[in-house]
């Protein structure tokens, strides 16, 4: 077995490769340009988007900061209506529970609607290894499943692919005819999926919100695949992170339009469905069993950090990715994470280890576009700084400390500073000798940037000279 490269090495290699892929970058830029226009239009229809953000932030603050209370309330309401709650501390427990359920109920085929949590716990691999046929029903996720690739963007999973590539993929995997019409490609997937909804005996979904008050989960989607996944199979399993909590059902009256606006620039996503239990007496269809798997998987680690706790307010709209200059240039796969973009860079170090994933917080221009775009006012770009600070505090880098020590000593002594300034042009001449070679000590910097030339005369000298001339 070849061991996987270190996350930071993988990041640098992949980011270098993807930034060089000009056509792909142009396509992503174009798609995100359209997003910006649509979102701007929808946002301006709000009487006050800024106040709506305050209220949305307050709702999520309440849900997350009293999470224990609301989790209990949800459990009580949900189980009273015949639902089953499973509490999973980590991914292994969640996988085992779902696998066990499939085994016990003699499940043969499984249809899934979009769930980033299932990517997080690698559920498909686990199910397939046990011999279950699993089909992703969301078009983008289905395409990524056939590509054997993780989603590129957690809202737009295959935004990096061109239609010719998708057509070729369908030709190869489904035996369909070649076409360059997105409509025809969508219909191929539609026809293919219909059978699966009807035949599947288990439907697995994610969830966008957990509603404590009424014991419901809410799913937002455009395609209708989640609705079919949760209507036809006799077992419904929803895998959902504990932080998705909102206190009241009516809170969704604000959060659903905001999720749609920030996510895709729609006023409301096509289907916003709330599920409170399996089929109830007097109802004519729906699953016999409904299991909600509440997933921690290190979310409580982030919860324990009051400074960054608001990162758990995230409603996964994807807006911060869409406006991020880094995402636009390196693309989604370079991150090497389940959650890409700015919010992924904030939370991944908490989920998977600060030292292994701190490089993502470094890969930011700190422009703050993400924070501005966020519908629930998460202080994203400051959290990138917090991660950088925490990483250094946790594991001090000796050579960095040495450099800073030297710098401080130099700055404390004007005479030493003056000498250093005099020596700078000479130092640059020497540097020119190694520039571009592997001996260059600041090679990572000079690879893509030119170092400014030190002036022949320092500002200090110039000022003194000028003063003398005036006298």
């Amino acid at each position: 077995m070849i061991s996987a490269p270190e996350p930071s090495t993988q990041f640098h290699t992949d980011a270098d490769r993807t930034t060089a892929d000009e056509p792909r970058r142009a396509a992503v830029r174009k798609a995100l340009g359209n997003y910006k226009v649509a979102r701007g239009k929808t946002e301006s229809a709000f009487t006050s988007w800024e106040h709506a953000r305050d209220a949305a932030a307050a709702i999520k603050y309440e849900g997350v900061n009293h999470l224990d209370k609301y989790l209990r309330e949800f459990e009580e309401k949900f189980t009273a209506r015949g639902g089953k709650v499973f509490w999973a501390s980590n991914s292994a427990q969640a996988r085992e529970y779902i696998l066990g359920l499939a085994r016990e109920r003699g499940v043969k085929s499984i249809v899934k609607s979009k769930a980033m949590t299932s990517e997080e716990i690698h559920l498909n691999d686990a199910l397939e290894k046990e011999g279950y046929a699993v089909v992703e029903s969301d078009l983008g996720e289905f395409i990524q499943q056939l590509m054997h690739e993780p989603p590129y963007h957690f809202v737009f999973p295959c935004m990096h692919l061109k239609r010719e590539e998708i057509s070729a993929l369908f030709e190869r995997e489904l035996g369909s005819a070649k076409t360059d019409s997105p409509e025809e490609l969508t219909m191929i997937a539609r026809r293919f999926m219909r059978r699966h909804y009807i035949d599947a005996d288990m439907g697995i979904s994610g969830g966008n919100f957990i509603v404590a008050e009424t014991g419901m989960i809410s799913i937002t989607e455009n395609e209708g695949n989640a609705r079919l996944t949760t209507a036809l199979p006799k077992i419904h399993v929803a895998l959902i992170g504990i932080e998705k909590m909102v206190p009241k059902l009516a809170d969704l009256a604000l959060l659903l339009p905001m999720l749609a606006t920030a996510g895709t620039g729609q006023h409301l996503t096509c289907y916003n469905s709330m599920y409170g239990g399996p089929r109830q007496p007097g109802e004519l269809d729906g699953p016999e069993e409904f299991h909600v798997v509440l997933l921690d998987n290190h979310r409580t680690r982030l919860l324990a950090d009051p400074e960054q706790r608001d990162a758990l307010h995230c409603i996964r709209c994807g807006a911060c990715l869409n406006v991020c200059p880094i995402f636009k240039n390196i693309g989604g796969h370079a991150y090497g994470t389940t959650y890409q973009g700015p919010i992924g860079s904030v939370i991944t170090p908490h989920f998977r280890g600060l030292q292994d994933w701190k490089h993502l917080s470094g890969a930011s221009s700190l422009c703050g576009a993400c924070t501005e775009a966020c519908p629930v006012k998460i202080d994203i770009h400051h959290h990138l700084l917090h991660n950088r600070r925490n990483a250094v505090q946790e594991q001090k880098v000796w050579w960095e400390r040495l450099i800073w020590f030297g710098y401080v000593e130099l700055m404390k002594r004007p005479w030493a500073f003056k000498i250093a300034m005099r020596l700078a042009p000479l130092g640059q001449k020497l540097h020119a000798l190694v520039l571009g070679t592997r001996l260059d000590p600041v090679g990572a910097w000079t690879k893509t940037r030119a170092f400014p030339q030190a002036a022949a005369q320092s500002f200090h000298d110039y000022w003194q000279e000028r003063k003398a001339a005036r006298k």
Binding site: R227, G282, T300
Partner: protein, 229 residues
């Protein structure tokens, strides 16, 4: 078996011992006075009169590509459905029982086979229908949405499995926004909500391929809303 309940809850409680600051950013001015529903002050404006709300619903329907039609009578609605049936070559229409639905069904052309699903249905038979006719809980003017529930709209699948979804509603069901739709549900059902509530905004759609809009991804390719007095 409920898994790691005690340990997970204990971790949550422990993590929350130190409170978090309310906002890292300063709130907008003037400061927000309330953070509870109905949030009307900040969402897009909706007219107060029923006529304005119907007009807004019509406008949103156009954006969403919902076919929206005001029908003066059940016969007129049935007539429109007859036209649709002929135009699209429908053979079978699935529906559930209901006061509005039944009055319309009474005037449907006899050539259209009706599948009534109230006593249960066979999935393949429902899938083979050309259209599904349902009632709804409410129509939401602000977003052009139709609120359906398992109780009011023939379960979960009828409004999503057939390729054309037809909604029969009456003018009194128009509400201004989502908050009002939730209020209506709370008033009607109290604590015994249906197991499924959905806001449907237009026909099913996707933008997954090059972010180009395609209607009819997995759900209905067409949505028709007929509004009766």
């Amino acid at each position: 078996m409920n898994g790691d309940r005690a340990a997970l809850l204990a971790r949550v409680t422990e993590a929350l011992r130190v409170p978090a600051p309310l906002h890292h950013e300063k709130p907008s001015k003037p400061a927000t006075h309330s953070v509870t529903a109905p949030f009307r002050e900040w969402l897009p404006p909706v007219g107060a009169s029923p006529a304005e709300q119907v007009a807004l619903f019509a406008k949103q329907s156009e954006v969403l590509r919902t076919e929206f039609l005001e029908c003066p009578s059940p016969e007129a609605a049935a007539q429109h459905l007859g036209k649709l049936a002929q135009g699209h070559g429908w053979k079978r229409l699935a529906m559930h029982r209901g006061r509005l639905a039944d009055t319309v069904a009474a005037s449907l052309p006899g050539s259209l086979e009706l599948l009534r699903i109230d006593g249960g249905y066979e999935k393949n038979a429902l899938e083979a229908c050309d259209a599904g006719l349902t009632e709804c809980e409410s129509l939401v003017a602000q977003t052009g949405s139709v609120c359906v529930t398992a109780r009011s709209s023939g379960g979960r699948a009828l409004s999503v499995l057939p390729p054309h979804h037809i909604v029969i509603a009456s003018r009194g069901q128009m509400v201004p926004d989502l908050a009002a739709a939730y209020e209506h549900l709370a008033g009607k059902y109290g604590a015994t909500y249906p197991s499924f509530i959905s806001f449907i905004s237009g026909p099913s759609r996707t933008g997954d391929i090059e972010r180009i809009l395609v209607l009819g991804a997995h759900g209905p390719k067409k949505l028709t809303v007929l509004l009766m007095p």
